[in-house]
Symmetry: C2
Subunit: 360 residues, 2 copies
Amino acid sequence: MPNVSSPRLTRAIGALSLARGGKLEGVEVAYEQYGELSPSGDNAVLICHALTGNAQAAGEGGWWDPLIGPGAAFDTDRYAVICANILGSCYGTTGPPSTNPSTGRPYGGSFPVITVGDMVAAQEQLLLQLGVRSLASVAGGSLGGLQVLEWLARRPGFVRSAVIVAANLAHEPWTIAFNECARDAIRNDPNWLGGDYAGSAKEPAQGLALARMIAMISYRSAPSFSSRFGRRVSGTAVSGQPQFAVESYLHYQGQKLVGRFDANAYVRITEAMDAYDVGEDRGGAGAALRAFKGPALVVGIDSDILYPTWQQRQIVDTLRANGNVAEYAEIATPHGHDAFLIEWAQMDQHIRGFLAELPG
Amino acid sequence: MPNVSSPRLTRAIGALSLARGGKLEGVEVAYEQYGELSPSGDNAVLICHALTGNAQAAGEGGWWDPLIGPGAAFDTDRYAVICANILGSCYGTTGPPSTNPSTGRPYGGSFPVITVGDMVAAQEQLLLQLGVRSLASVAGGSLGGLQVLEWLARRPGFVRSAVIVAANLAHEPWTIAFNECARDAIRNDPNWLGGDYAGSAKEPAQGLALARMIAMISYRSAPSFSSRFGRRVSGTAVSGQPQFAVESYLHYQGQKLVGRFDANAYVRITEAMDAYDVGEDRGGAGAALRAFKGPALVVGIDSDILYPTWQQRQIVDTLRANGNVAEYAEIATPHGHDAFLIEWAQMDQHIRGFLAELPG
């Protein structure tokens, strides 16, 4: 596949007033850009990342790399593809591990409550600074898809099309349940200290690892685990019982996240996801999305248990009822929710086809 | 529904050699009995309970009460219905909270590794003491169903029929994943102390509560949570974000288990469940079950994600390939795995119909 790379850049966007109250001073946004912005500033595509993602969407190790580049689905010969780390995360954009300018110490547990709207507000400030006048498209999967919906509701005139993958209008309680168990795993860690672990010798690593293990159950599927692991044994547990390969896998995934993510960020971002409802305080989802007039591609994943396909069909129905051209496509895969980071051929086909039909 | 009650009785069954090595001395088994054993000792039905169940299957608060009694599906005018607390549990049968006779202190973390085979071995000693010569049927759901399979493999001549609900021949990795996350929640609790918390002031309550919360996700279903809780808010979390009703429900369920169950028992029993494979060391499931000649009713639950219905069909196929009469019935319900403790009318219909056709 084509390959592009970008240095990670950072922009200071100043103060940001937050939806649930309070204000963050001196906010910085980390981003990457692939392809050139046109003089008129109207060929940008914003890519929105998921819970533990970052701004590195393309290039080696980029989380959507096969979809972004010259001649790729998101064609960098045509578009300036921009991906920014979300507010509240830990990959360069202001988040809990960032230094609070008023104290000179990390926010930690004092980082304010944020919303998906706040994440989009930070992205908007970045785009305005970069000279973007209009987005040819905004695209994302999972939490990225929630951000896309928020863009449509918040700045309908700024966005000309949308690609929403494996997301929903608002989290259902079964999804909230997974997130609350994950948060509880973190809060139960004796090193959590209410989030103020930055000054202590230890981090809530066990809790964060377990949070990831719980989430992995929901990101994949029972059939994918059965075909990948079966009842293969990878060793003997301390107890003397067999240690199954699936258990070793979960622990490995947990430890991997500990090495690259922050527990406060995990808590704050999952809270924002659960709280998000595009129709809240907007008279419902239909009314919230009514001012957006562009076409949309909504992609479901047939084995996704976390954001099952009826939820993407609901997005399509809502948009169509508003008069939008809304296309539904479904990824056929055993891999579950994570398929939007795995099934490159199908993702490419659907997104490429959708963007090819856009005017301009 | 008809109602019967029984005092909880206890029998000392002596020493028990364990499948994974070691021996438990002075084992006691708690049980209840509903209905009279015939002089020939051949009208007993053994009921096997699930992970956190107990011997009280019938009577007020009994976990299968609507199915057991005079004229009920398990008709106590016809059968002596016996239910025993499993080995390794904490409701009267020897388990981690029991006193180790060789030290005078609770076993705690030193309780040996047990298997489903050990649970059945303890039941067998009890039944022989009670004068049972042959079981008209052995029945159970979830872990109870694993015990039924073990009975068929271990004592095929002792069992004349079987009722297996929402169980499988061996745990699939996605189910093991839920259990390992639950065990990790317990082990991460600073009060766990490797299981030796009996002498300390605190128990691993947070860990056990989270274990239950994780399990509850798998015991119910996304549609049941959606219809029951939706996005109803029950308060405001410490963070300032909404506290969803589903979150309050999970915490309530977690606390409820803390009040009635032991963390060591939770770990030991789930390990035994994950390790169980009826065909292990027996040449596969077909060979393991070949000597059992009786009829079987196998019940699946259409919304069960933990033990999905293909797994019950696999049991049926295995039995039929051996020449058994094996009937498959499916509970239609939104409630998920727990439906075997909820959908009384359907459970009654299938079990009553099956037992009515038995000879004698």
